[in-house]
Symmetry: C2
């Protein structure tokens, strides 16, 4: 068996499980651990390294969810086959990326991209008009709600006050089209630290929500494009993208979008949510990510839009790194938002453009003025810089994890009836019926008890092209972001009456 000596260091700020995880990942990337090779069992590795069993478990889980290893029942963990490992080298710095994209050419056919934070007006809202609601709404398991009561209003207020009482009249004058340089530097650091995103502040465009950024991206990409989207997907992104692009609905398997379909579909751009696909919750493993990047690298004007909408809320292990972090060739347009992690009313999102697209933006779109007030940008900047954002995220993670665990526990009652999934991140769980029962039937029964859950069919963008799995089963989304523990208990209690 492969020699698993790992030098574990104290006092580096890195936790033991991280050191183990990183060591093994490095070994795989550099080819010292080969596809198909078996890893030592968690127990034996823990003994060998003199660490607790759960430390190794956590490291293995992280490798599992990123797709470096797989688990074979009763046999143990094995290294996955990962396409073209060289793609996965440490992403080059953006400067180098610039040189690459500059060399690889410019004009030709362009491509748009997109996405949007699930908000109140998001896909699920269709269910509002669903039939059979003969009791007033008692509990809404919306996958789009977030908890606002824990927001540090006082801190926000204090920062606002400080900024306004500086009576800096320049603050009220027009700012830079891409956004305040300070805030872009702050976002850049944050993205690097939390998501492994490699970029310079000049690549960042700040905009009033993802919808706006997608409209801007339309202008940057230019000529008509064909965009591949996961099916099912986030419906609002679909609605916006199809206003300017042809959409190809692409099947998914358990690893996410089927990369080989992109060539067949003649797509220019693929819109993906690799860290936590909405609504399926799929985390795209490293191998599939490599396939997508290879597809994009194979032609000049291919791009991937990475919608990283809620990766802040992963409850187990380290956050999954972004797809952009693995991009060496300037192929990923990274979009993120503060609407989910801070507050929907804070209309601040950001887009990281590869240098080739940044040039187009500067050439064709420099005249669009910023859509976010400088004051709001300044407030957000201080909120992040002074550590309030991190504290708020940690607080929210704790709150959501508690709700998530309670919901999971309450849903055990339905284990015979549904398979439960999507439990690693995000603010909703999925219930997939084991038997033949229609989605509509389930929704109506819940509605009769005053409970609203959401049907997966709301998120289908091409029902005909839907993966067989989704066609043949009924799946429901049960969100918990906006419900406290008492409400979750009450709601699941009513669901028991409705379904059991």
């Amino acid at each position: 068996m492969y020699d698993m000596t790992i030098e574990l260091k104290a006092g580096t700020g890195k936790r033991l499980y991280e050191q183990i995880y990183e060591h093994i990942r490095q070994e795989i990337r550099e080819g010292r651990l080969l596809a198909g090779e078996r890893l030592p069992s968690a127990r034996s590795l823990a003994e060998y390294l003199q660490v607790s069993r759960s430390t190794v478990d956590t490291a293995y889980e992280q490798l599992l969810s990123e797709g470096y290893i797989e688990s074979r029942p009763c046999r143990g963990y094995f290294v996955c086959h990962i396409e073209d490992l060289f793609q996965m080298e440490k992403a080059r710095g953006p400067r180098e990326q610039k040189a690459v994209s500059g060399a690889s050419g410019t004009a030709g056919k362009h491509l748009p991209g997109s996405r949007v934070v699930p908000g109140k007006n998001a896909p699920g809202t269709a269910a509002l008009a669903s039939p059979g609601e003969d009791r007033s709404l008692v509990c809404d398991f919306s996958p789009n709600e977030i908890e606002m009561s824990a927001f540090p209003f006082n801190v926000w207020m204090r920062i606002t006050k400080n900024i306004l009482s500086g009576s800096n009249s320049r603050l009220f004058s027009q700012g830079e089209p891409q956004g305040e340089p300070e805030l872009r530097r702050t976002i850049c650091k944050y993205l690097h630290a939390s998501r492994g995103v490699e970029c310079d502040p000049e690549q960042i465009i700040i905009g009033a929500g993802n919808d706006y950024l997608l409209l801007l991206l339309e202008k940057i990409l230019g000529s008509p494009v064909r965009i591949a989207m996961e099916n099912p997907t986030y419906k609002r992104a679909y609605q916006i993208l199809r206003s300017f692009a042809e959409i190809a609905a692409v099947d998914m398997d358990k690893n996410g979008m089927l990369a080989d379909r992109l060539e067949q579909e003649n797509a220019d751009v693929a819109y993906v949510m690799p860290s936590h696909q909405f609504p399926t919750g799929i985390v795209m493993p490293i191998g599939r990510r490599a396939e997508l990047l290879n597809w994009a690298n194979a032609a000049e004007n291919r791009y991937l839009i990475e919608d990283d909408y809620d990766s802040e809320f992963r409850y187990r292990g380290k956050p999954i790194p972004s797809l952009q972090a693995s991009d060496r060739h300037g192929k990923v347009i990274y979009i993120g938002t503060f609407s989910k992690a801070i507050a929907p009313a804070i209309r601040i999102s950001y887009m990281v453009l590869p240098y080739a697209l940044l040039e187009r933006y500067q050439r064709d779109c420099y005249f669009y003025s910023s859509t976010v007030s400088r004051i709001d940008q300044r407030i957000l900047n201080e909120f992040i810089q002074n550590g309030h954002f991190e504290r708020h995220l940690n607080k929210m993670r704790k709150i959501y994890r508690a709700r998530h665990e309670l919901l999971l526990e309450e849903l055990q009652a339905f284990k015979g009836m549904f398979r439960i999934s999507g439990e690693n991140a995000g603010l909703h769980l999925l219930l997939t019926a084991r038997g033949k029962i229609s989605e509509e039937d389930l929704l109506q029964k819940a509605a009769k008890q005053g409970v609203r859950v959401y049907g997966m069919s709301d998120y289908h963008i091409d029902a005909a092209a839907l993966p067989r799995f989704y066609r043949e089963t009924s799946t429901l989304l049960v969100g918990y972001g906006g419900l406290n523990e008492k409400q979750i208990q009450e709601g699941t209690g009513l669901l028991k009456k409705a379904w059991l």
Copy 2:
């Protein structure tokens, strides 16, 4: 001569000149005063009505600038020929308008529209790179700057504080896509009172700046359109509109856009600034407005985009009513902004849609979430409702008028060299060279003294199709919004060195 008995009433809140103006306007509209008829001289009417001469002068000036009457040298004032006076009846209420547009049909070919507040990154910025600048900039007569030092920061701060300390967590949740209902009601009232705009709050869409609203309008209008624009025009609107529409550059005469060209040019939409064309300063008289409305009424999917960007800053007489105020058939898309009147950093603009387009918006674009934070909308709403906006406007008018008069006075030194125009509104004056001297020459000479003025050619969108007047003369824009009186004196002093 026509009987000029006018019943003047005290205590109605209407000033005497307004009563005279309204009476004569009514007489013209209802055909009792006919085209070509001569009005009594101001002196004799003043005597007859027992009012001061200046009261009648002011009334006549208002009628002149709205195009109801014209002045013939040495002969007096005559009633203009106004096409199809019936068009100019009191605009119907929006409810009735709804019925009309509903009846006149729906689908077919759509049309986009547009416009943008002159901001720092506006057209003039091209001059930044102009050659021959061998002295550092001492004075920038930018037509796009506004004065921020008089802004009531304390008031804004106090309102912000009150709103945030309500610790209303709902304020941080996502709002309605069209904007906060309260703010829409407030804008509706303000537009009716100040600009004669007839609409319901439900017709208003609030967005983060005019650029965003134009992008949204693109989606509302749908299929490809051909948009007529004044030439010269506001350049940023041109850049945005041409990203999705074919542009027809249409000549102007002293009354503005030549309406008969619209048919020839096969335009679907015309983008106009009737109250104060940028950059020429032309105020479109009522007759030309009627021609434009008639053109729009003649086919189902024709629209006028009225960009009412700075009509708050008219210094003499009553404000010119909006074009929308004369629209009976739901043909005017009205766009305005708070960036100019309050602060560029306040990214809040609004668009009033005719009902036919509102239906399309609700059908095709309902999913775009609002781009303005609810908190900012709430602050602005209180700022207007509590009378701060009006007070601020009055203060700013006074400041700008003083600057305007000082600049006009200082420019008298150039009277032999330039014709001076554009003095009724806005934040810049125009200097048109009487002799043959190139614009570039003038700009360079100014730049050598450290002064930046702006060339009209920056605003041309189709130099070949330019009105002969502009082709054969050199015209400069001299803005004063961002300069205090000392700076204006210093700047004009340097211009004297440069040009005289």
